[in-house]
Symmetry: C2
Subunit: 429 residues, 2 copies
């Protein structure tokens, strides 16, 4: 940006819901996504839930002409599902896998197997740009959200990761499915602790794509005040009832839908970023009976400009509020910690009981061998079944004990880090 | 360093070998470590294998007067074992857990349970300092090193982590047990790709502590040429035969010992770092019959100086050599990938066979229930035992299949990243 002091950047973000064998009309939708990306010609494309590497490769072949640079992040059993397509050269990549991500035995939720991560690429287009694509643990029940502590640990780790990796970047851009509503503690923590701005809240113009309607068009909006949302319009929602793939019963308390996919950004050094326009898709692709995904795509046009002096006031002005947010998050992590400690204790006790049963059986078997059993011996079949059951429980309970030990350690670590940050915030004049 | 343009930094690094119930004379040794740290008054202390949090807390209480700032990194089942004590305020911390770290079924090696990581703290003392403490997977058999691909993935991830997090730091300092000899591909990769310098190779003075002997004293040494080592003196070795805790048979091919613990550093911005002096302990603590650990401690005195222009030539001058190192590492990762793919295939086949056996049994049982068994039925006990065996094998093989799938993904990801880097290196003029 030496010659041209401004840059207009068009960013596309979508949770593609492309799980092999499970997602409905996957191949058709991936083809449609490829077509729209080809037609619209964005600068940067951040995709999540592209679980099949074949789908990524197909997209790569299709989009190679317009987006010559791309990266697919591999992790976990199934993969991270994250990939990035770019018009600008990708200089370097880094994957950070969250330390907590649900429970392996919650097979029906499956988050644990996905290796949820944040993938980072450095992109160069005169200004150095740090780009993240990420996905946090899903929320399956808002009223009794057992995964909240895990999601908060992930939000904290994501924030820490961004803080540590973005220090020399000019612009940071983060897009992805946070699985959190805008007012949730996790997103307030992420935004407060990194200084990232929400493209939707900052956008000068907001438009619902495919309906030709501009919600709040032309009304300049003050920062951090998502007026559209408070006025009750559906703007910005990325999980909406009129998408044929969403679960309508889950959205009953939210008739307009919910907003859980975000494009966040900030300028670090002597640059200024403004969100000129934000768009989302809304349900079915125009002219088709199928949407791109069960989530809506978020599309932002960012205006990046070099300016005289460094902008870094976001964090310091928000500090008193930040302390409250960190305290709130720390309380939730503390609740999760106590639950994890209780689960560790229960599984440990179960393992000990199974071991005792096995020892008792071994003693009885030895007694029988030595001819010490005076009365009627156990039937062999029941004896064997009981032994196998005890071994099974012992193995399972030991596995759970180890898992919950890890969970306790990570929750303790996060709580300790948050305590340090709170102390530092309070000590500042 | 606005007022004072130079800073003398004394750094202590030690793999403490403090495993509860397993490490010999642990409490006594931790007490001795605390005493020497208190007496010598270093500026920064990087400790590994402090597996018991109680030991860390004891050290923290003991050292609080001289090192008011400290951090313990929690991860894995047992923990990361990493902690840092500092005279300067710790501003921020981040833990990066390596994606591969051995196999959970190799219980006798236990690396998998430790959550091997690199812990990072930002320290401020006029110059911003990025400090890492880390430990890579142990080498159990040098001739047939099954863990080499995992260690290379770790070295690569460590290098990437340093590159991404150190961009705005003035000085980067990394201390820890790399479990690699100085000429090994992993350490050449780490040094080549980050530009980190080896304090031992760069030290103006080298001294074997506790023996009053200065090896190579006063001989200025050219960079990247560990002359002492090539002259066959034991300088710099951190696993030595005259330490009563080391396994003498493992050190038979290396009569002088081996060097696997390092202090590495580099200056990023307009600073210059020089290693003024390097010391190691050698076996037993003077006046005692016990050493601090089975490893020797490494102590470096670094001279940090502000200079006019930024120094960043290390990487570019070493690029042709770097391409060779990355190619070599990529080949080894490729070998590991093929082994992992083979193991995944074997465990998948085993799972399918167990499933077939179970289905066969289920069919036989159903047949018996329907009164279709014409001949002699199976004895019930054998039938049950076989079913339990099949279930056990199915579960185990499925677990292994999932684990090796993850391993394959991570090895593929690393290979792909290395390919990208090689391409970028070759494309440069």
């Amino acid at each position: 940006m030496e010659g041209d002091p401004t840059l207009r950047l068009r960013v596309f973000d979508l949770n593609c819901w492309a799980i092999r064998y499970l997602s409905k009309r996957r191949q058709e939708r991936v083809r449609l996504i490829g077509e729209v990306l080809q037609r619209e010609g964005f600068d940067l494309v951040l995709l999540q839930e592209v679980w099949s590497e074949q789908d990524y490769n197909d997209l790569k072949v299709k989009l190679g002409g317009y987006y010559p640079f791309s990266h697919y992040f591999r992790s976990g059993v199934i993969g991270s599902g994250l990939c990035i397509f770019s018009r600008f050269p990708i200089l370097d990549t880094l994957l950070y896998q969250y330390s907590l991500n649900g429970y392996p035995y919650m097979l029906q939720h499956g988050d644990w197997f996905c290796g949820k991560s944040v993938g980072l690429v450095s992109v160069w287009n005169s200004a150095s740009l740090l780009l993240g694509s990420h996905q946090l643990h899903a929320e399956y029940c808002r009223e009794k959200d057992a995964y909240l502590p895990h999601r908060l640990v992930q939000a904290w780790e994501l924030a820490q990761f961004i803080r540590h990796t973005s220090k020399a970047a000019d612009v940071v851009l983060l897009g992805g499915d946070l699985n959190m509503h805008p007012e949730d503690v996790g997103i307030r923590l992420l935004r407060g602790w990194t200084g990232l701005r929400d493209a939707f809240a900052e956008a000068t113009r907001f438009e619902v794509s495919g309906r030709g309607r501009a919600g709040c068009q032309g009304t300049p909006r003050a920062s951090h005040q998502p007026r559209c949302l408070s006025q009750g319009c559906e703007d910005g929602c990325t999980l909406v009832p009129n998408n044929c793939f969403t679960d309508k019963s889950e959205l009953l308390p939210f008739p307009l839908g919910i907003r859980i996919d975000y494009i966040l950004y900030k300028a670090i050094s002597s640059f200024m970023v403004k969100c000129e326009e934000l768009k989302t898709t809304t349900g079915a692709v125009p002219g088709m009976d199928v949407p791109f995904s069960d989530h809506e795509a978020v599309m932002a046009t960012l205006h990046i400009q070099r300016q005289g002096q460094a902008a870094g006031a976001t964090l310091s002005t928000a500090e008193p509020m930040l302390a409250d947010v960190v305290t709130e998050a720390r309380t939730e992590v503390g609740v999760g910690l106590r639950v994890a400690q209780q689960q560790r204790y229960s599984s440990g006790r179960m393992a000990v009981l199974a071991l005792l049963l096995l020892l008792l059986q071994a003693a009885a078997a030895l007694g029988a061998l030595a001819g010490l059993d005076a009365g009627q011996p156990f039937p062999k079949l029941s004896f064997c079944l009981l032994a196998f059951l005890a071994i099974g429980i012992l193995l399972l309970a030991t596995g759970l004990y180890l898992f919950h030990t890890m969970e306790v350690k990570m929750l303790q670590g996060t709580e300790e880090q948050m305590r340090m940050v709170l102390q530092a915030l309070q000590e500042r004049p």
